[in-house]
Symmetry: D2
Subunit: 296 residues, 4 copies
Amino acid sequence: MGQFQPLARGVWGILATPFRGDDLVVDTESIERLVGLYRTAGASGVVALGVLGEAARLSSAERRLALRTVVDAAAGLPVVAGMSATSTAPAMEEAGYAADAGAHAVMVLVNGGDAERLAAHLQRIALSCGLGIVLQDHPTTTGVTIAPSSLTRAVRDSGVVVAIKAEAPPTAPTIAAVAAEVEVPVFGGLGGVGLLDELLAGSAGAMTGFAVPEALIATVGAWQRAGYDAARDAYLPWLPLVESQDKVSLALRKEILRWRGLIAEAHVRAPGLAMPASLYRALDAHLGAVDMPPVG
Amino acid sequence: MGQFQPLARGVWGILATPFRGDDLVVDTESIERLVGLYRTAGASGVVALGVLGEAARLSSAERRLALRTVVDAAAGLPVVAGMSATSTAPAMEEAGYAADAGAHAVMVLVNGGDAERLAAHLQRIALSCGLGIVLQDHPTTTGVTIAPSSLTRAVRDSGVVVAIKAEAPPTAPTIAAVAAEVEVPVFGGLGGVGLLDELLAGSAGAMTGFAVPEALIATVGAWQRAGYDAARDAYLPWLPLVESQDKVSLALRKEILRWRGLIAEAHVRAPGLAMPASLYRALDAHLGAVDMPPVG
Amino acid sequence: MGQFQPLARGVWGILATPFRGDDLVVDTESIERLVGLYRTAGASGVVALGVLGEAARLSSAERRLALRTVVDAAAGLPVVAGMSATSTAPAMEEAGYAADAGAHAVMVLVNGGDAERLAAHLQRIALSCGLGIVLQDHPTTTGVTIAPSSLTRAVRDSGVVVAIKAEAPPTAPTIAAVAAEVEVPVFGGLGGVGLLDELLAGSAGAMTGFAVPEALIATVGAWQRAGYDAARDAYLPWLPLVESQDKVSLALRKEILRWRGLIAEAHVRAPGLAMPASLYRALDAHLGAVDMPPVG
Amino acid sequence: MGQFQPLARGVWGILATPFRGDDLVVDTESIERLVGLYRTAGASGVVALGVLGEAARLSSAERRLALRTVVDAAAGLPVVAGMSATSTAPAMEEAGYAADAGAHAVMVLVNGGDAERLAAHLQRIALSCGLGIVLQDHPTTTGVTIAPSSLTRAVRDSGVVVAIKAEAPPTAPTIAAVAAEVEVPVFGGLGGVGLLDELLAGSAGAMTGFAVPEALIATVGAWQRAGYDAARDAYLPWLPLVESQDKVSLALRKEILRWRGLIAEAHVRAPGLAMPASLYRALDAHLGAVDMPPVG
């Protein structure tokens, strides 16, 4: 692994980017509240500027503002910064800003199926910014597929990867195959819909943006202390709120965060899909049925 | 609606097609057991030869054998026969066989976004076979998208649709929009992952292939008698078994059916994906944690 | 290679399926004229029931009628029968009908990227029907990708392939890689847009449905006798008629066949796209500028 | 149209971004030579930082360097600057840099099918940077489809569009439908493969990156002066060099530019596909057969 320490196991929160007002400006106060929740709830760290953080919908000035706000509010909690670019030069540029802003690591998308080229890509980014890399396999965003064996080889050969985020469905078999071969933690994702499967397959925890991170932390903690049955009991009540309506999951997540008072407004920037009005009934029913932890 | 009666509300089971032996022959005894379960459990009917019934992987002789076996075993329980074809001529041919075999209705895929052409397609099929049509919107299979308003218009103008199966995610908003405008029942699908949302949006029940139909029947029954909280309580324990690992959901479903003794073997025909060995641990854990209803 | 002879080099025509009247019935007289043209023009053979022959839009009765008509009209010219199915059982069934009808070989789609499974699939089909296989790699239809090395291995290991139709773009590099490793002819396709590149890469000729097969035959003949410059001179005048408007290429092809008097009407069955009215001006201009060979 | 003048008809060149050395640095000298060619050859203008200019593979510093170099070398020839972002905030930021650098207009991707939302998106960008917009419909990049009627409405309602680049296949019918309804010029694209069809449909010229712009200029000029036959004669010899091998068209284009001495090296940045070695034979044959205009 060389110079970079693997990420801690546990729960890493993928942060939404809240917007405010008619102009949908980045809402730094809401970011601070959101990060504060992760800190007090016991997350291992947070990930800013991921796909669901709408990073590609922010200007570079907004990305830097959001990242600096997250790092400041994190107050020592490790922050991973997502890179939207899939080519080396723009990823290096973004990674440089992330390092300057005080990020702990950067998250880079798998940009091709060839292990050797991928390892070289990762090394150039890591060497330029001095940070380790969370390697994200997310074919929905990239259209790229990679075999688990190539993923493993790129991690080993590059020597710069500090965690893997495996989001090519089905996730659990990939996690099982890769986790047996690498020394860094492997996380799932996809909103947490397969979290129990992923833990059973050898996942190091959860790295997702479910709007009640306390539930993820309770579930992963129960898994670590007491195993499957306890984790299941902790997670079951939350499953109806976990991504059951594909394509509007970000809008739903932001509505839950707003309902909790964590963010001021729930807008999603175009071309992301807004919350369908007809879904509020389901959201209200699911929210009314759980024992929501108090905030702050 | 004209001459065709709308389908009954409640739970319709999408039947898997079980195979046996090295040659993966269609296993009619297992089909009979499976249909028997739906009959005794109180389903409103069953759907044979759907996408997840691997209809496109059967020869036409096998499709007819499977369908006849289902109709015989159903002993009066209504049987919907799925049509794989998206063009009129082959769909009419398949629909003719379905009518001869004693099917109650045929399920036809949305094959284009133009309401007028779709209505004409449906009418020609219905008139040729004399059966009503369950209209299935399943873009994952067809690559076709249709606006809810066009779906509604095709249903009204054709006068031959007896139910809608809405499987374009997010399903709940489509169900809400369409159910308010048509007189036929609208069902969701997609393995049941959004069942509670779909019921809240106005779905008439469940039309999916989850391997424990008793759980669907209990959930929909609870919804009808007592509303959301009761339905939620009934469904929650089963959610970890509901499609959490995309792309291998059919393999998982067949494993559960085999585990229950309903089918003899769990093979999936190529190019469908086989059960990944690393997923058995999760499957066993989920199965061990539920109170599985006894069979037979 | 065992018992099956490789296909002849040269030009193989992918046949359109002409329809007639308001009901779009299969027009056997037009089929006969079309096959007659290929026979008198000097084609090496024809391919019936391919993707662009709208095979998936025909009932099985229509498929058999079309195939018998082609074989009868071919009067000894070899006929390859396309298989729409990607699973073994329905492909075996279709292949059996093809053998009964007098087909020379069957064309089977690559249905997965694993060489061993693919070889087994091909062997089962070939052994059941007694015919050799034209292996078609057509990701636009199947969504399946296969590495050239796996394609090569499946051909060698199965021992039943008599030709390859390489239609994963870019086609020329795949043809170059595969043709160097197998003893059977490798053809391109995709409407002929890359024909010169494919010949230079080692293609054995042309296997496509361009509506002026005489031009393909003149081009491939010129290539064989005199090389690139002669082939280029022969092909250049026809390039504006070769698929320049993606997604409506079948409609355009049928209009050219109708213009030539080879088929009576140019309808395409739904969900195929009809000829856009605004394209007639371009079609007329292109047709007016070439020296069209007389028919019959 | 308000304050913005429509683009001139004729030929607009989509510029490649040349790279040099092991580190693939942006090669400003080659950019200058390339722009110089367009200027002396009589192009109406050039487009920098388009999809095929690999804009998404450049850091923001590189994008600005490339754009400034183009504007300086253009010496008064109008320069359109491509925007990679599909959301308003990052597109506004990029557009601001483009205005500062002296661009004449910005090119913005269609980011959704709703005319009203699209018009608002375009207006916000235009008002913030003070430049008119070339609206590019490129579903291969965006995954977004828009009806011609919605495209027309967004152009009319926004009042800020100065040209349309229609690249949703088939392009000619869309050009015919839209050009009849708007006052701004409509161009095709897709490498020029359908240029004759597009001119016949009402296109205002060519806006593409074919590596011999002199051929495009001769063809469009012949069309304007003498009509189809003359344009056809001018274009025919070049068609074998026009994108016949999908997915490697950028690599091929850069090789032609290098062969002509216009750029120093032909590298494509990852994840773009490099030139397959087996394609050099075809490239050499095509280049050897044309009467290439001398450079400089």
